[in-house]
Subunit: 193 residues, 4 copies
DNA sequence: TATGAATGAGTTTTCATTCAT
DNA sequence: CATGAATGAAAACTCATTCAT
């Protein structure tokens, strides 16, 4: 296994544990033994626990950004793009629940972990947020979406998706997550229209 | 100062610090010295740090529930109730930013703090959620809101409010929070209608 | 035992172990168990291992400065003061070998421990060095000492004392330390005259 | 580069870093990367970090011994030999400050590094100390130096030189080191006479 | 022989909780 | 009841040394 592969494995393990038990309740020992390696070995690849959290969030938002960028590139209406995004996002949750949970529960919430003087850690998600901005702008230009404040549009999309993600991870939803896909997309579009 | 008042003071102090620095970065010493009392004294009123977090969340959701219950009791349309709720919620944020931040950033995110075998900590917000359910049900019964899945309706309301709260606490909003009130309420209603 | 007494006990224990095994080979656990207290207890009184080293050196140089100040205040010749200082210093070694060993072996050598940006740790010994300067200046003013350069005079006194201290702590001296007192004082005076 | 040359290079690098940052604050990685080689490679040439420290001190005292042996072989008075030794020592400091600093600040001070059950690490400097003994004995035999205890004579020479070396390495001397040469030699001789 | 990732014991430090005063 | 020193069980991180490639 080469260095890049090892890093990827460590990030995957961290993601899993951080999302399950939270950043603070996950110890470096937990991550190491979950991988069957020594604690010291972790430090060969990442200089600190915080750098692990950072690498993990970059990984997650990078993945989300790639999916959204692909959807944005399609020659379809903005409304259709919202549908596709919700679908793609739901399938992403199914395949990588730990990634999305990590995004919402660790990154968005334990801000103190990611913030330093210069950068409040937001730049880590920049790629993804920019792509979302493109999607919204497109919709407004096409007159599909009401000209509206960006922050409200952003909240309508990510707030609703975040909330349903939360309910799903709390196991309070009655049906399969994917069965809400259509309705959620519709709900989001209603807000934007 | 009697026992109840003392408890209230301790909860207020905890809320302030938990919301600012997070649950884990706030020490019992921080809470005590913020109040000018001893650490030992804290334990006369609360048996553990966790119990402080729990009492704090009950306090916050209790307050939110009271406001919403009052709105629900009014002889107005469900749509109007949504407007009133958003307005009341925004004014609540202005007056008690630490309470709302605590709700979203500590309670919803550091689930591991509140969960034990029997209870996943959700019951703490039960009062408030039940009140929200009443509001949604009313709207559906009156045919103001489309008959819809509760979870989606819930996400439309609390997701959007949560997201805008987050953006506000991150200081990325361009205008005063209250100036978004009308638009946010409209956006939520569009989803529900 | 009050707080000041406890601090003094901890400093004494640290001094003993630092001088015997060096700063780096002495662990906080060693210091704590040498005192029969817990590691955490150490941190109630001193915020870090480094602060212990600093408190220890201040303690030692303070003691040395007091002795020398008293000698300086006497109405005797500078040459006689040198004799008295050597005598007092030797008796100090007998009573507190760990203090002097600490001074020479830890303080003078592990400079990296005591240095920070502003202060290179020398100020900790300032009191003592200033008193030594007074003694030398007196001798020069009285025409007892011809050696005018302070640094050479300083080295003649402290270098010779330091070296004999070192040989003593290495157990290579053949006779009792105090039996060298007279000769050492003479040797120092010969250099200064 | 042959094996001996490689060893020499490693010793030089160690000496540099040990004298600058101390034995404990210098890691094997530091030494290796300072040389542009791998950590493992270090262990092909030296079995442990301690063996590096030992080899380094032998190297330094060996160099000093050679210089002093050469001076001792000259057909000149003991007093003149002291002058020559001080001159040679000062020029040695100028050319190899790290060697002398290492001798005084690591070897003489972190005794715990060099000591084991059998040998307290003193033998490493034996060659040099023996040569110094020869010089002192010569002076006594010629009636140039007062018959005196060896340890006091030793301290007069090495103590004064050590102290001035310390002040030099601390950058507290006002003039160039070499400008003190004559006076220091005189001061030492006054003690010995 | 050279490499450098892996190891794991050891170190400082933190902090919720307890309890003697 | 209030206090705050004491506790001790972790936790993050370090680094000399080893060993497979």
């Amino acid at each position: 296994m080469n260095k890049r592969q090892k890093r990827a494995k460590i990030i995957a393990s961290s993601l899993q544990l951080f999302s399950k038990h939270g950043f603070y309740k996950t110890t470096m020992r937990d991550i190491a033994s979950n991988l069957g390696i020594s604690e010291g070995s972790l430090y060969t690849h990442f200089p600190s626990k915080m750098s692990l959290a950072t690498a993990a969030i970059s990984h997650v938002t990078g993945k989300l950004a790639i999916d959204l960028r692909y959807i944005n590139s399609k020659p379809i209406s903005a409304t259709k793009k919202i549908y596709e995004f919700v679908k793609s996002y739901f399938s992403f949750i199914q395949k990588n629940p730990e990634m999305v949970e990590y995004f919402f529960q660790v990154y968005l919430s334990n801000r103190e972990i990611f913030c330093n003087e210069e950068d409040c850690g937001f730049s880590l998600a920049k790629e993804f947020i920019e792509e979302l901005e493109i999607l919204i702008d497109d919709g407004v230009k096409n007159n599909e979406f009401t000209q509206e404040n960006f922050f409200i549009a952003f909240s309508s999309i990510m707030g609703i998706l975040g909330s349903i993600t939360f309910l799903h991870s709390e196991h309070v939803l009655e049906k399969e997550l994917e069965s809400y896909c259509e309705e959620i997309a519709k709900a989001i579009c209603r807000t934007l229209n």
